[in-house]
Symmetry: C2
Subunit: 337 residues, 2 copies
């Protein structure tokens, strides 16, 4: 017995059992009020007996849409940030009565073109593409004409709507926050050099420092782990003028803090440290790391809206969603010199 489409039981089957027409069954299934209570009862009984399940295929064929949005992700769904945006899309979809179709692309096939072509055969009214910002075909990708397409990316695309966390804005906020606290020597400790989010964060930091007329010291780079942060932190100890450190993620921030403390410096009294992503809550005792929390939920929700209600205008929108600094205990006023 083939499972699938409508469970093999159709309106007609139910109709026959209940002694009514298929249309009447359809009316019952769709809660129309133009059915006598007695008839309705008989139909519902027949439905139950046969295990009727409406056929999504037939319904959407008739309706011409699916009430479903597609999300294509590459590699790791689970990594920080990505998963929250997935959740944002899912939440927005749920709220608006949409389903979500998720496809995962292996890293070696993670191009926008491939994702879009796989998606085009699926039951979706719009698609959200969430691959790394560094896919080969980002610039050349042409979205399918009849399928509203949104790319989650910090980069701007000429033909597609794009949304993402405002990585640059994150850096600017952090720099300004440090400045407000009286800091002037603000260092950046990076993650992997080739990572797009690291590049954006670093660029934003540099830009903000220059605009504010502060000194830019060439940053060091680690591999996103706390251990690499520790090493970099130990090197940072030499830098006697530095009073503020902006780490490209929280693990690095933790590494830096441990290193500074091991070197006899106090955090935040001597050096203030801030992380990014706000991913380490509740995980380390007595560490109240000040961090920057992105609004992943909103990114997902906006992506959903753009995919299901594409704006009319010529120019595709490029939306950057700001987050906020979560103040805890690793940033203080700059020490007096």
């Amino acid at each position: 017995m083939a499972h699938g489409s409508g469970s093999g039981v159709s309106l007609a089957d139910v109709a026959k059992l209940a002694g009514v027409s298929a249309q009447t069954v359809s009316r019952v299934a769709n809660c129309s009020d133009a059915v006598r209570p007695e008839t309705r009862k008989r139909v519902l009984a027949a439905m139950g007996e046969l295990g009727y399940r409406p056929s999504f295929a037939a319904r959407s064929l008739r309706a011409g849409c699916y009430q479903s949005v597609g999300l294509a992700m590459s590699g790791d769904i689970a990594s920080t940030g990505r998963r929250l945006q997935l959740e944002g899309v899912a939440a927005a979809a749920a709220q608006r009565g949409y389903a979500m179709t998720l496809i995962q692309l292996a890293d070696d096939e993670a191009t926008l073109g491939e994702a879009s072509s796989r998606m085009s055969g699926l039951p979706v009214d719009g698609q959200i593409l969430y691959l790394g910002s560094s896919t080969d075909d980002f610039a050349t990708f042409e979205p399918p004409s009849m399928l509203p397409t949104v790319i989650i990316s910090t980069r701007h695309h000429p033909r597609c709507a794009t949304v993402s966390n405002d990585q640059t804005g994150c850096s600017v906020s952090i720099v300004d926050y440090f400045i407000k606290k009286g800091h002037r020597e603000i260092r950046f400790v990076g993650g992997r050099r080739d990572s797009y989010s690291n590049i954006s964060r670093q660029k934003g930091w540099e830009q903000a420092l220059r605009t504010r007329g502060l000194r830019v010291v060439e940053p060091m780079h680690g591999d996103w782990t706390a251990d690499s942060g520790y090493e970099l932190g130990m090197r940072l100890v030499q830098d006697r003028e530095c009073t503020a450190v902006y780490a490209s993620n929280d693990a690095i921030a933790v590494g830096v803090i441990y290193a500074l403390r091991d070197a006899g410096l106090r955090v935040p009294e001597d050096v203030s440290v801030i992380g990014a992503d706000d991913s380490l809550v509740g995980v380390i005792p007595h560490l109240d790391l000040t961090s920057y929390r992105f609004n992943d939920e909103q990114v997902g929700s906006i992506a959903f809206d753009l995919a299901t209600n594409p704006p009319e205008g010529k120019e595709p929108p490029h939306i950057l969603v700001p987050g906020m600094i979560v103040e805890r205990k690793t940033v203080a006023q700059a020490p007096q010199r």
Copy 2:
């Protein structure tokens, strides 16, 4: 212009433009080789021009199945473990050419019945229900007759296949691992008392100790955070006989370790500590926490297989997937007394 189903452009439209029959276009779309190269080219050109996208609805209506599996999750998709199992399902689906339809249930509607009924109108050949193990209707839930159903849960269900991580097995492995290292006073530090996974882990620990004839000391409970682990760790210091601690998750383990060290005890020389979930890799400097890693990928993959290829037998399978201890540096031989 309505988007959706087949982009509004049908085989017939393409056929007219290319001057062939719809069937020929269908053959081209399905890569049948019974088409003259020249014809194929003409058809492909027409497809491109019109932006043809095959209609999922029509195809599955005809085929009688969707090549898609449904996954229902409650509340937080992102939390440790859950997200990895999501990824496991997604990976298995991708590998076998299936799509995945994800629906998210708000916490106040997270029952198996609700999930299943929502799913029944979606394009899925099978469904995987992944709510908390504590849903109200777990025992009474009746799966729909024509939709293969799998529940991800440590509990056994009389009518549905179930899969999950082997929480009890985790505890047994950990106890035996400690015993192998010469420990005999093995404590359990729990997370939230009412959490199902905490209950299972504690039960497994207790059972293992009893079976091996070791002393069971009533465990303490925190709230899963490192800070709560720290507090409990400080209380644990009084327990002079304890040489081994099994923490119900990694954050608690970290808290315990910090507390023990602050109290002057060495880890692992004086007291060994093990966590569970292996969720804190690379996040704390110089902490090489021994932990138990579950095989979430495999849980997801098995769930997928059961949902798409339901076994014939009468008794629904109940599968517990073992994980493994990841040996690092927080467990050592028991100290000599």
